[in-house]
Symmetry: C2
Amino acid sequence: MKQEVINIAKQAQEASRALGNLSTEKKNKALLAMANALVKNAAYIKKENAKDARFAKSIGKSSAFVDRLLLDDKRIVKMADGLRQVARLKDPVGDIMKSWKRPNGLLIKKVRVPIGVIGIIYESRPDVTSDCISLCLKSGNAVILRGGKESIHSNIAIFETLKKAASKCGLPSGSFNLIKRTEHEAVKFLLGLNDYIDLIIPRGGEALIREVVKYSKIPVIKHYKGVCHTYVDKDADINMAMKVCFNAKVQRPATCNAMETMLVHESIAKKFLPAMTRKFKDAGVEIRGCAKTRKIVSGVKQAKESDWGTEFLALILAVKVVKNLEEAIAHITRYGTKHSDAIITRNKKAAEEFLNRIDAACVFLNTSTRFTDGNQFGMGAEIGISTDKIHARGPMALEELCSYKYKIYGKGQLRN
Amino acid sequence: MKQEVINIAKQAQEASRALGNLSTEKKNKALLAMANALVKNAAYIKKENAKDARFAKSIGKSSAFVDRLLLDDKRIVKMADGLRQVARLKDPVGDIMKSWKRPNGLLIKKVRVPIGVIGIIYESRPDVTSDCISLCLKSGNAVILRGGKESIHSNIAIFETLKKAASKCGLPSGSFNLIKRTEHEAVKFLLGLNDYIDLIIPRGGEALIREVVKYSKIPVIKHYKGVCHTYVDKDADINMAMKVCFNAKVQRPATCNAMETMLVHESIAKKFLPAMTRKFKDAGVEIRGCAKTRKIVSGVKQAKESDWGTEFLALILAVKVVKNLEEAIAHITRYGTKHSDAIITRNKKAAEEFLNRIDAACVFLNTSTRFTDGNQFGMGAEIGISTDKIHARGPMALEELCSYKYKIYGKGQLRN
């Protein structure tokens, strides 16, 4: 097993050296050919996928799990469209991020380059396979994929289809790689190969991510969880606050950027909370409120200490009435996860105070935390959302998959 | 011990929340007061420093070691000048790195913010104490310092002097912190506190850095070593090549950006090597050459396999004659450390090929690798040089000590 994994890592490193200098045209041509191959091989992919679905059902996986796993023609076309979309995105490699001349005449250019070899550890969502391959390829990185064992047949089918198409277009053979061994030990071993792999991006639930961080000798960019807050200030437009909070909680509650806790200024609570909670209840949202909330609205469950800071990922909302902006900031600082937090207010001073002091990847004024997303930001894609502060923060796409180098042009200058 | 370290980490995190929003004016005022305090307390600092020097001598440390440790009036003034220089640098915090509007009217600003809490693990160079405090303060980060035990009295004296001055200027008390416990276990424990510390920067030899990487649960930005190459191409200006190579090797051989291996194109070797090696030998440089080098120049020691890839940090140079640019790139790819590598050539195509394909933080054309340095780059300071590719690469100063956040301004936009 070890030799197999190490050979893959070596191949990936070898390929990454060529990939970094591949032309945009060649990368795009390969991406389009890969998209066509996916559609052409739909029958084969579906056949392999059916094996995974049967297995998942046989071991008693939930219907939601099996649904995420399933690939039909529509989903395969969607994966292919994803590849075509990445082909249309601007190539980040070679961008001159900054350029300046020193008094001694040295010209310094800060140039965007690929990171090198990226390892992706993910759960059983076969569409992640093609997503990550396309984004890493366009950003000039070699990639090593390790997906969940429940989707292994689907992953192999997608991977082999894409690989064959890419190699016909002349891409280096180690450009993308799939660890086909499903033992747990293979992941642990991979995470120790810091001589070959430059970055690990885990994609999945918190347990998976904590496990990766625990074992990795390679830098990890991670997304632990999104406990997102919306604070309705005393100077909020109540009508806007109702719509934005409803959107943040209800539009897609299972996502990391959905609101989990709503904070309400006490001087607006009596006007705002009764109508707001009614709207939530009509949509099936369970409210867990603080004592003050329960005085204003009847029939609200008492929030437990553990409800603050919980990522429900469901139609459940914790609600707290706060004395002022200061208490709202203190609450978010204590229970937040540095993902996305919003303030609803017409008061510019309060808004800037909130946006400056809340330590989160994305801080919002008068809009929904649901906008934390690579596509919504205009990045055209997303490989994940970072809750880290090192390298990349918030939505990550092609630029975030790059590092940089300095090119220094001289004419014989010497250092004194 | 553990409680002491954890209290420091908590204080630092608390302080970092205020530091991130401190005005430039307040930070600069503190830096100038701190500079004055250093000079005013020179007698106290020298007295404490003398204790360290006596101890270092008593345990048989080398005279070079003791010299690096020693603080006289000149060095104290230099530290103070360093603080004043950092006060003059542009404040990176709050910079709008990018700003754009989405079709739905959302205004997105990418804004530079401090990283948070930075831990610095260093050896026995007391000037690092004031350097790191000033750079972290100006970039809005709280800092936790842990220096070598041989300079503990000096570090405490500098730290207490700076802290008193800073607190008179109203800086939060946990802004900078020194771990005064000298046990090895204190470092290991510190490296596990990923809930409080955002980044570790080790400063010192390779052994120290490997140790830090081994134990850290916190992201580490590191500098392993600099095995820097200069490749003298067939189209080099020989006169320029002689001067640049001499500068890269001899001007300050003990630094990480000094040249350790010189590669020479075989078609220029006979013209270039005899005069070049004579010049090196006159300056006391020991040459260790490949077989081809030894055929051209007599009296050259045979290079062993282990000489390629060795960071001599001394007047020793490995020399290899290569067939072409391709072999030069292959050699550097195999033995280099992604730090700094140079090509000397008048051939533009060869130059771009080299600069694009060499995977190093800094790639130079027709100049000395010795220019890899924050001050030489015009950053005004340097907290270290990163040989990593994640977050920061090459010289690191104020901007590299920052992360970013997205501020998103809406008018009630909802996600569909």
